[in-house]
Amino acid sequence: MFTSLKAGEKGKIVDISHVGNLVKRRLLDLGITEGSEICVKCVMPFGGPIMIESCGQCVGIRRKEAVQIEVERI
């Protein structure tokens, strides 16, 4: 689970299939899909979105979607 990563920690996406179609498509557009390495940059308070970095670009996604992404710590 994505949220097991703390800010500054890195991981690799193992499974993204549980995420809703629209979000999955948008992440794919940004080049974020299974196999992508990501780094959690910061986590907003009160269950707010998280900011991740992948291949040098920063992307904000919601916590509830992040939770559905299977990540392996590296």
Binding site: S17, G20, L22, V23, R25, R26, L27, L28, D29, L30, G31, T33, K41, C42, V43, M44, P45, F46, G47, G48, P49, M51, E53, C55, G56, Q57, C58, V59, G60, I61, R62, E65
Partner: protein, 667 residues
């Protein structure tokens, strides 16, 4: 010759467009600045350049992306100019691959090579050009470096792609492409390979297009058969995913051969981000920035400048015109028209130019620096709780400048429901045209707390919008789907020149409106106040204007300003919010020795003044905004709703403030 600019969002297409055509279109550092196609002519007249919204792929998710796909399917274009962000080459090439499949002459502008090399990414443009089979020209769109060479290449070289089918999608897909192409043979002028691949990827626009020309069921059968065989032979979940992976593999090969990496420096962006999107500091920093913006606009800088301009206009300029009129022996009617109508009406609006420019300067700064997308991120949690998403905050922030571009900016919101909600609520954002009213009234009644009172109005607009969002999304606009994925662009140090241009571009609309709309309106209002049922040159209270205002005035009495003057200015406010000020200046015309501000105290109490400002903030979207709402929603019903709910909410809130305030003994 028609050349279309196309590329990923926020890669600098519009910057390049401005550079190549010498025009000025809206630019900013966030994804989705351009939401419409824009046409310009090359400086050296070699043809027309078409600027399109940024897209990641030709398979659209949102409305602004749909603009691009429809353009490809329905408009004719001679050449494509594909702008790539060199620091994000891999993602950018996904679009390039699709463009190459479109089989139109293509030229690549490799932008942001400076950013890429800072990050340690070196791209061999010549080799990239060989691999892709089209010319590649490195440029820096922000500074204009390389643009000459780009124009040179466009006008001299032919750039029909030399290589075909850069991506091999595998036996099964290639076979299906051939089958589908056969169905389409002779029925379309577009690349059949392109249509087939987009069809397999589930592109709705292409699907609509092809089913218009051939039998949809046959195509569906080919696609379904393909998907089945792909799923059987390979370990993939869907056909679009398979196509994506094939494309990705081809791109990776190209990248490996054309780019080299060495260690770059840690971008400054990350250091700034650790502060402005900090868990605890993010929101306070945003509010602090807003507060600074208001203090500068209304207190520290803006007010002294406006006062100085006011002194100049009511003093030397007015008396100069007066002397000139006397010198040419103008008739009493002309004299009164110019001094009491035009100078009062137009001058009364022009006085606020400095404050409006300061406000626009800050909005441009927010857009140019890259902070805008961060605000969307910071605000998402709150927006989500009322059934919107953080991206909706961007149209609202832009709405502070002018509601019209704000409503247009809602196009980047992917889900139709959230987009509609944002369109309906953006008019509640206090636009710059409402600013003169506040400036006048706070100057007259709340001189000690100017910025604070005005800030309270802006915040009130946001709070009302959020409450209504919650109300609407839990009643008539119910739906679960919400999407929030936002790209956070690297920070850029805004260049003074581009900041000034973007401030000027936004601000000149205000000045122009003062010279046209407000000018004509002032003449009209003055004549209405000069003439009455009893003839010309009547007392103001017997004029047509008083008669019209008098009809509405009783309705406004419970909210504190039941005068015909207030009613008349509110009516003109529908045409343009600044018109409220020109109308008041004309109605309350006084010789220059006493000011409108002083005079207002005879007509309003401070409580009534606040109630009036709240009413102005909310009561109706102006004519231009109403037209934009209609254009963007395509629905008379929603447009009428936007006007109707605003009137109701404004009246109710003003009533609560005025009657409630009286109850607590305020005056």
């Amino acid at each position: 010759m028609e050349i279309a600019l196309i590329g990923n969002p926020n890669t600098g297409k519009t910057s390049l467009f401005n550079n190549l055509t010498g025009s000025y279109e809206y630019v900013g550092n966030w994804s989705g600045v351009t939401v419409e196609k824009k046409v310009g002519v090359f400086k050296n007249n070699i043809g027309r350049l078409i600027d399109l919204p940024g897209v990641y792929t030709l398979n659209p998710l949102s409305r602004d992306e749909g603009v691009v796909t429809s353009f490809f399917l329905n408009d004719s274009v001679d050449r494509l100019l594909n702008i790539l962000d060199a620091s994000q080459l891999e993602r950018n090439l996904h679009l390039t691959m699709q463009l190459l499949e479109f089989e139109k002459p293509l030229l690549i502008g490799l932008n942001m090579i400076d950013v890429a090399s800072q990050r340690g990414i070196m791209i061999d443009a010549k080799k990239l050009s060989e691999k892709l089979g089209v010319p590649v020209v490195p440029v820096v769109a922000r500074s204009g470096k390389g643009c000459d060479q780009l124009v040179d290449t466009i006008s001299t070289k032919s750039f029909t792609p030399v290589k075909k089918n850069l991506v091999n999608y595998g036996v099964e897909v290639e076979k299906a492409i051939a089958d589908l192409s056969q169905e389409l043979a002779g029925k379309t002028e577009h690349s059949k390979r392109f249509l087939a691949i987009q069809y397999f990827e589930g592109n709705e626009y292409v699907k609509n297009y092809v089913t218009q020309i051939v039998d949809g069921e046959k195509l569906q059968a080919i696609s379904a058969k393909l998907e089945e065989s792909i799923k059987k032979s390979y370990e993939v979940k869907t056909l679009p995913n398979f196509i994506y992976m094939k494309r990705k593999a081809a791109i990776e090969t190209i990248i490996a051969e054309t780019t080299s990496r060495r260690d770059g420096v840690v971008p400054l962006s990350e250091k700034i981000d650790s502060i402005v999107t900090n868990k605890y500091l993010g929101m306070p920093i945003f509010l602090l920035l807003m507060y600074l913006m208001f203090m500068l606009t209304f207190d520290w800088l803006g007010t002294p400048m406006s006062d100085a301009l006011d002194g100049l206009l009511t003093g030397p300029v007015a008396s100069g015109i007066e002397n000139a009129l006397t010198a040419v022996h103008a008739s009493a009617f002309i004299h009164a028209l110019i001094i009491e109508g035009l100078v009062a009406g137009v001058g009364g609006v022009l006085v606020f130019v400095p404050q409006i420019f300061i406000l626009f300067f800050f909005i441009s700064l927010l857009e140019d620096s890259g902070y805008m997308a961060r605000v969307a991120l910071v605000m998402d949690r709150i927006m989500e709780s009322v059934g919107l998403n953080g991206k909706a905050f961007i149209p609202m922030m832009i709405g502070f400048g002018c509601n019209v571009p704000g409503i247009m900016a809602a196009r980047t919101i992917e889900t139709p429901r959230e987009r509609l909600l944002t369109i309906l609520l953006t008019p509640l954002m206090s636009c710059s045209a409402r600013l003169p009213v506040y400036a006048l009234f706070v100057g007259a009644f709340f001189a000690a707390h100017k910025a604070f009172i005005v800030l309270s109005l802006y915040v009130l607009g946001i709070v009302v919008a959020l409450i209504l969002a919650k109300l609407f999304s839990s009643t008539m606009l119910k739906s679960q789907t919400s999407l929030f994925v936002i790209e956070l662009p690297p920070y850029r140090l805004p260049q003074f020149q581009s900041l000034w241009r973007s401030t000027w571009d936004k601000g000149k609309g205000f000045v122009r409106k003062a010279g046209t709309f407000i000018f004509a309106g002032s003449v009209f209002i003055w004549i209405l106040s000069y003439a009455g049922p009893g003839g010309l040159k009547v007392e103001m209270d017997d004029s047509f204007l008083a008669a019209i205002g008098g009809v509405i005035a009783p309705i406004l009495a419970p909210i504190g300003f039941g005068t015909w003057q207030a009613a008349a200015s509110l009516i003109t406010g529908f045409l343009a919010k600044e018109a409220i000020i020109s109308t008041m200046n004309i109605i309350y015309f006084v010789p220059s020795d006493s000011s409108l501000q002083g005079l207002l105290a005879n007509y309003y109490t401070p409580l009534a003044a606040y109630s009036f400002m709240v009413f102005i903030l909310l009561y109706i979207p102006c004519l231009a905004t109403t037209a934009t709402i209609y254009k963007e929603t395509g629905s008379k019903k929603w447009t009428a709703f936007a006007i109707g709910y605003a009137l109701v909410i404004a009246y109710v809130l003003s009533l609560i403030i005025y009657q409630g305030g009286k109850l607590f003994g305020l005056v």
